[in-house]
């Protein structure tokens, strides 16, 4: 029989330390749904999603019950919808929005809480369909509830498409304006990527990439609280022990993800894709990545030393997690979404955590500037410039970076935006008052970087 202490340890992780499976995400290819007629395409999309994912939520709930491990979200990611828009006869914004509404309807019909993939990959250039899709994003997000959108505007191999960066700054602003009643909520469903990954199970950036199969199950785990509690037991010990403790904990967390992924894959008859080795915080107290960094000895997340602490944490999570799962992928690393992390919110509110520090932190952890509220009068050019900075970090460092930023209409620095649920509360952060207008107006592309002579 398994050691009683190990059994109690597992139960304690779940009951008291917020260990959970953050998401089971079913990736569904929509390539077969393409065609020239919009009504037929929408019918195909609806039928395919509601057929493939009909048992997803029920299966997730069954697994949850039998294993006693909470599975917070059941979600769907699809082929970037720009592919469908491109195949349409005379693509228009209205037609593109119609597909978004179909995704929304299909996702609600099967009971998932988000569907991602209203996306376009334009890191080098735009097709006509991609241009139409991007133009439609503000309306599409405002008119739907659970559709998530992402746009890839750069990559290490292609450089950065600055025309797309410019346009995305404007799109973010438009999306915020259209949803000003909810403080720009549409922006919480929109991610701008550099080096986007094809098998990410996390929202809002999930889509099913070009190289993926017909249908796949990807799982994202989570357990910042478990790591924090493990570190409490090694107070004052050196960093070798800290790293070792995080690795062991990440191993255990990931094993649970692997088990759930395999079980879901078997029950649904869908291949298992990857486990995303993530530390994904929630606004719940005790489920914060910032608190892990503070447990390492920082008075407040965002102070000097935060980047080093995060680098250690992120690397140790990967090292511990890779052995626990057969296939690892997605974004794999610690997330630092400001509004979704109680410790980050507190750090931003007291001024310890600034946008500049967050930018530095994104060099060493998963993804990038995530769920950051900025003043409503922030210009589109400034948002584009923030996106460009973040994309440059991703491009040069060969990692995924992203920006999910909310220029909250009518709000100013020091105010707070309430998004509710897992999306939390965002303190409106300060931005530089100086213009980036002329820089962004240039357009064109930033060439792909050289990958030798590293300094």
């Amino acid at each position: 029989m398994i050691n009683p202490f190990e059994i109690i340890e597992t139960i304690n992780m779940i009951d008291n330390e917020n260990l959970d499976i953050r998401t089971i995400t079913m990736g569904i290819s929509l390539k077969s749904c393409a065609g020239p007629d919009i009504d037929k395409v929408c019918e195909n999309v609806y039928n395919k999603i509601t057929t493939y994912a009909k048992d997803l939520v029920k299966t997730g709930e069954d697994i949850e019950k039998q294993f006693g491990i909470p599975i917070i979200n059941k979600r769907i990611s699809v082929t970037p919808v720009a592919t469908l828009v491109d195949a349409l006869d005379n693509p228009t914004i209205e037609k593109s929005i119609k597909i978004a509404k179909t995704l929304d309807r299909a996702a609600k019909a099967v009971g998932v809480n988000f569907i991602g993939g209203y996306s376009a990959l334009v890191h080098k250039g735009f097709t006509n369909g991609e241009r139409v899709l991007i133009e439609s994003i503000p309306e599409a997000l405002a008119q739907t509830d659970i559709v998530c959108s992402s746009v890839n505007i750069g990559s290490t191999r292609a450089g950065i498409n600055m025309d797309a960066v410019k346009r995305m700054g404007e799109i973010v602003k438009e999306a915020a304006e259209l949803t000003k009643d909810t403080h720009g909520f549409a922006c919480a469903k929109l991610v701008v990527f550099c080096n986007a990954v094809e098998d990410n199970p996390f929202m809002a950036g999930a889509f099913l990439g070009e190289g993926e199969g017909e249908c796949v199950i990807n799982v994202g785990v989570s357990g910042p609280g478990v790591v924090k509690c493990a570190l409490e037991k090694v107070k004052g010990k050196d960093f070798g022990i800290v790293a070792e403790t995080v690795k062991k904990t990440a191993f255990k967390i990931t094993r649970m993800g692997q088990l759930v992924a395999q079980e879901a894959s078997k029950r649904l008859g869908v291949p298992f894709g990857i486990v995303d080795l993530s530390l994904a915080p929630t606004p719940a107290v005790g489920d914060s990545v910032a608190y892990i960094l503070e447990e390492m000895g920082l008075e407040k997340c965002g102070t000097h030393g935060t980047t080093a602490a995060l680098a250690l944490l992120n690397d140790a999570v990967k090292k511990g997690g890779v052995m626990a799962s057969g296939y690892v992928g997605g974004l794999s690393g610690a997330f630092i979404p400001v509004s979704e992390d109680a410790g980050m919110i507190a750090a931003a509110e007291c001024g310890a955590l600034s946008l500049e520090k967050l930018e530095a932190m994104t060099c060493v952890c998963s993804v990038g500037l995530d769920m950051i509220a900025v003043p409503g009068d922030t210009t589109a050019a400034t948002i584009s410039a923030i996106i460009a900075d973040e994309a440059a970090i991703g491009m040069i460092n060969q990692k995924t970076t992203a920006v999910r930023i909310i220029p909250a209409p009518g709000l100013k620095e020091g105010d707070s935006v309430e998004f509710g649920g897992l999306l939390g509360t965002g303190p409106v952060m300060s931005i530089k008052p100086y213009s980036s207008e002329e820089f962004i107006a240039r357009g064109g592309r930033i060439p792909a970087p050289i990958n030798s002579l590293k300094n």
Partner: protein
């Protein structure tokens, strides 16, 4: 199917009797029991076996939840794999 039943709470009379009676009524066979006091709490861990066509983890959990409420205990029923996969390579 094998599952692990864990019972944690303040020690009192009749915990084992109550829990094992519910398991018996649900046609669940107890394979192994270990009992200890961990951090001042009564902790009982049972490995149980049952026919998953007759009864589900959910059914057993629901029945035990009633006893848990009445006796002020925390009772979990979980499939064994969650523990073996987390703690064994």
């Amino acid at each position: 199917m094998k599952a692990i039943v864990t019972v944690v709470g303040k020690d009192k009379k009749g915990i084992i009797a109550r829990v094992s009676n519910i398991l018996f009524e649900s046609s669940v066979n107890i394979i192994d029991i270990s009992q200890t006091i961990m951090q001042d709490m009564f902790t009982m861990i049972m490995m149980v076996e049952f026919d998953s066509n007759e009864v589900s983890v959910g059914d057993i959990d629901d029945k035990l939840a009633v006893a848990a409420d009445e006796m002020g205990l925390s009772i979990h029923v979980q499939r064994e794999e969650i523990f073996s996969s987390m703690h064994r390579i």
